[in-house]
């Protein structure tokens, strides 16, 4: 029998990077930009935070680190790194009107390469005298749990045992859901994504909305990478460890039919599916079944994708201009 008290926290920890990624991508897609560069952005967000933390730990020494700076520096580096990626994507697709799919894939190639390169070469480039990147001091600040996590039994384990970024992810997605649904800014953003020409005629600055939402989306997604490396992986960077979570985050956007608040539950569900193979019985001499269990999240995504397209409900459709660029003089 599945031990839920042990299983749920692990599922949540797996789900939080996906939640960051899918919230970011939802905001981006609402403006009509299909950013397939999110996997790359999440790598860049992670490695930028690692670089910041690495230099701070090297500079200050693990013993006399300031808790505030230890969190602020990686956070700022991570946000800056993913912001730059977002600006690059916007410059190419919004200003230069390049194909969004190709730009996104190029960003993914670049971002994953960037992450793995600096992850593998940072020590050599910085000339530091350590065997591997292990930011346990910084990680300790990031994964600091809420008070009462260990004293309140199962309640604490399920609800209080996460680092602050996990709660930030949930708050951000709730805010995003509120802004998209109930504010004028959200209405304008949705208008831009549905029909930029009409939005433009109504006096909405299409370019600005696309830039701001895409960059904001990238910054949020980048935090997912930061959470993964600082909290989940305990500050240890290993190349390609982040894997294909970025792609799963993009798939989650469809799974959640473009609703960030739904993303909270779906990402935790996906996180659970992602690690389910560890809990399913496979017997002693059938290790190969585990590989089949690892297929589950992808099969589920595919099935959901097909079912949503079969039902074809109007309110569950992607933003109408998704994937296309807007040029005012081309109608």
């Amino acid at each position: 029998m599945l031990d839920l008290v042990a299983f749920i926290p692990r599922a949540v920890q797996q789900g939080i990077p996906l939640l960051f990624g899918s919230t970011g991508e939802t905001i981006t897609e609402k403006s009509g930009n299909l950013n397939l560069g999110i996997p790359g952005v999440m790598y860049v967000g992670a490695i930028s935070g690692v670089i910041g933390a690495f230099f701070y730990e090297q500079g200050a020494g693990a013993d006399n680190m300031n808790a505030f700076l230890a969190i602020l520096i990686p956070l700022m580096c991570s946000l800056l790194g993913s912001l730059l990626m977002g600006l690059l994507y916007c410059f190419l697709t919004v200003t230069l009107r390049s194909n969004q799919n190709v730009t996104g894939l190029a960003m993914t190639t670049f971002g994953i390469g960037f992450g793995n390169f600096f992850g593998g070469s940072l020590i050599k480039l910085a000339g530091a005298d350590v065997p591997s990147i292990s930011l346990s001091a910084t990680s300790a600040y990031f994964s600091h749990t809420l008070p009462g996590a260990s004293s309140t039994g199962w309640f604490g384990k399920i609800f209080l045992s996460y680092g602050f970024l996990a709660y930030a992810a949930i708050i951000i997605s709730l805010i995003a859901a509120y802004v998209l649904r109930h504010t004028r800014t959200g209405l304008h953003l949705r208008a831009v994504g549905e029909n930029p020409a009409t939005a433009d005629a109504a006096g909405i600055n299409v370019t600005r909305y696309k830039y701001v939402s895409t960059c904001l989306g990238c910054m949020i997604a980048g935090l997912g990478g930061l959470y993964y490396v600082m909290d989940y992986a305990c500050g240890v960077w290993s190349n390609d460890a982040f894997g294909d979570r970025g792609w799963l985050a993009i798939a989650l956007v469809i799974f959640t039919i473009w609703k960030p608040d739904l993303g909270i539950f779906s990402s935790i569900l996906f996180g659970g599916l992602y690690i389910l193979y560890l809990y399913l019985p496979s017997g002693m001499d059938h290790a190969e079944y585990k590989e089949l269990y690892k297929m589950i999240p992808y099969v589920v995504t595919l099935v959901v994708l097909v079912i949503t397209s079969m039902r074809n409900k109007r309110e569950n459709q992607p933003p109408k201009s998704l994937g296309t660029n807007y040029f005012r003089e081309e109608r």
């Binding site: 397939l36 190029a106 390169f117 798939a251 297929m295 994708l305 097909v306 040029f327 003089e329």
Partner: protein
Amino acid sequence: MSFHVSKRSDITTSKAWIIRIIAIVAALVVCGIVTTICTGDNPISIFTTIFQGAFGSQRKTFITLQYVAILLIISLALTPAFKMQFWNIGGEGQVLMGGLASAACMITLADKVPNAVVIILMIISSILAGAIWGLIPALFKALWNTNETLSTLMMNYIATQLVAYFVIVWEVPKGSGKIGIINQDSNVGWLINVAGNKYLLSIIVAVVITIGMFIYLKYTKHGYEISVVGESQNTARYVGINVEKVIIRTMILSGAICGIAGLLLVGGVNHTITTTISDGQGFTGVMVSWLAKFNPITMIFTSLLIIFMDRGASEISTAFELNQSFADILTGIILFFIIGCEFFIRYQISFVKANGKEEA
């Protein structure tokens, strides 16, 4: 003074190429600067190293050409789908399935049937496996208009896990988690070495597929239907083209050619199968194809450029003990420049003086 962007009505091919070459040169300069910062070496010797890495010896040249051939085949496979605006980013999975089918024949049929039969079955099964992996998302698209970008992406991971499963089923020795070289002693199922050169087969297949695809897209009725569907599905329906049929047919072709790439990788090049055998080329192929504007002949050059930088950059990483991913960064930079330069081909910027008079 302000500027004004307008769409070019037309641009001469030579002018378009001048813009592209300027972009590539600019990209190489930026790559040089980045490499100089990371390694501290001077830019000229960096480019010498890159060139050495790609074409330094006859063997290196052949390996480079073989990489180009595989990437070219995958890009060509994706092209008809892109041309009809079907974003097949599932090349990775289709290649893997083709490779898996070949490996299955090699492993299960060795010593049971003659070598020639094994090879024929490998060819048939890998083409079929790739085609089926292309057909599934095409069916979803044709029946329910399912977003193909994401369905093909998911198919990639399903294929990866299938391969991972069979790798453990067939692992040699038990518990090692990998298959190793298949039929090392008997060489059953190893594709032939043309003229005693083990790199030549992929190159020949690539040339044949390039020419075939060029003719298919440009001079056949199928190719014409693909272009019409890509331009506008409504127009296609209006002139009586069965859009669903075109989508399904094209994706079967796309997947089948990816299957051939898998066959070459497993039967001709590596003689083993791993989950990373296609090494992201299903994604790189998307960019190769798009950069070449879906023209099979131009694709030879774009794939050569990408592989050249890739091989060269890995030479740099080895020489300076840097991480192999350095190649991805350089590839990314080049791609950004080429993607960006398309703007200047499609649009012209005219500067408007304060008195309202336009200058070109």
